[in-house]
Symmetry: C2
Subunit: 204 residues, 2 copies
């Protein structure tokens, strides 16, 4: 999972990251072209230039590779933007601002987001593994917002809760957007969802 790690050490790590990204990209592209049912692990492996055994060294399932290819980019960018929000901004406000920043470029990529969202929920197995991937993103968001709490204690549930709330708000906003066939304003929907929740930055 892509966190703000130090520069990778050697060629092995570089290759590992590059291969994983190549697999995810190939998976998303082939599923976009043919649909999930007509896309096999062998197809994805061939398109990524690897063997099938290597595929399974990078991803636990075909659907996880597809989910990483479809959903990974937007969330990766969100976490990156989160890191840039000034430290004095509270945890949920930081998430709101980062989501708003991501939304600024939304119109330029609306069709792509819509297609990716449709594909993500287009099979029960892919939905299940997309949710699995979202848990990884929750952890990344939690790591990013933890320092924004004034009174964090060891074992404090709030960073993980903020991560979970963020992914839930996004997921439900995308659901509503798809229900409306993408006619709605997704950035607005995300902000509405995030506005409805509060996680105080300081316990009472």
């Amino acid at each position: 999972m892509t966190e703000a790690a130090p520069e990778p050490r050697g060629r092995r790590e570089l290759n590992r990251i590059r291969t994983r990204q190549a697999i995810a990209d190939a998976a998303a592209r082939l599923v976009g072209e043919r649909g999930i049912e007509r896309t096999t692990v062998d197809d994805i492996a061939a398109a990524a230039g690897i063997g099938r055994a290597t595929f399974f060294r990078h991803f636990e399932s075909k659907e996880l590779a597809i989910a990483a290819g479809l959903s990974g980019a937007a969330i990766f960018v969100l976490v990156g933007i989160l890191e840039e929000i000034p430290d004095e901004v509270g945890p949920l406000d930081a998430v709101r601002r980062a989501s708003a920043r991501l939304g600024e470029d939304f119109e330029a990529q609306r069709a792509m987001f819509l297609e990716q969202a449709r594909l993500s929920w287009s099979s029960p197995a892919l939905m299940a593994w997309t949710l699995h991937l979202y848990v990884d993103w929750e952890v990344a968001i939690a790591a990013s917002v933890a320092r924004r709490f004034d009174d964090l204690v060891p074992g404090d549930p709030r960073p993980r809760l903020v991560g979970a709330i963020t992914m839930a708000a996004w997921r439900l906003a995308v659901d509503a957007w798809l229900t409306d066939d993408g006619a709605g304003d997704l950035p607005r929907l995300i902000q509405d969802h995030l506005a409805a929740i509060d996680v105080p930055r300081r316990n009472p």
Copy 2:
């Protein structure tokens, strides 16, 4: 998924519900006895007294049947208790009270809950499908809390957000509990998680 539906109409519906429950129960029992890797769809079908094709008419995957058998009971009871909380209690408070009520009997079944929780996260595929099942439960909780908002409007995201928050709080509390090998106080952990979040019953 079990919602407070009217009495089933005919023998077909009764059989469908009964068969589905038999499959889920057999799946959980066999996985408890042998582990996931040693439990096949044919094993579960045989234990439930059905054919393998019938198995796949009730569940989209082996792991979904297992998840339904392991996790379904506790959440079914939670939704039932939610229905009994007085209408004037706000949405999240109702969830807190229902969770507290469920926790009253916790000690009597602590070993069973611990084993079920461990099994639920014991394979990536089962984790993914358990999360998939949780989305069904979010919908059920949303249906139950919707009337507790003073100013609900069509398309209002808050009931679904309460559902998502409830399942996230439970999931993260169980995670923390497992990290501590079940030594912690799960009902207390759930209350702590639920206490950290607010969804105002009325928009400002």
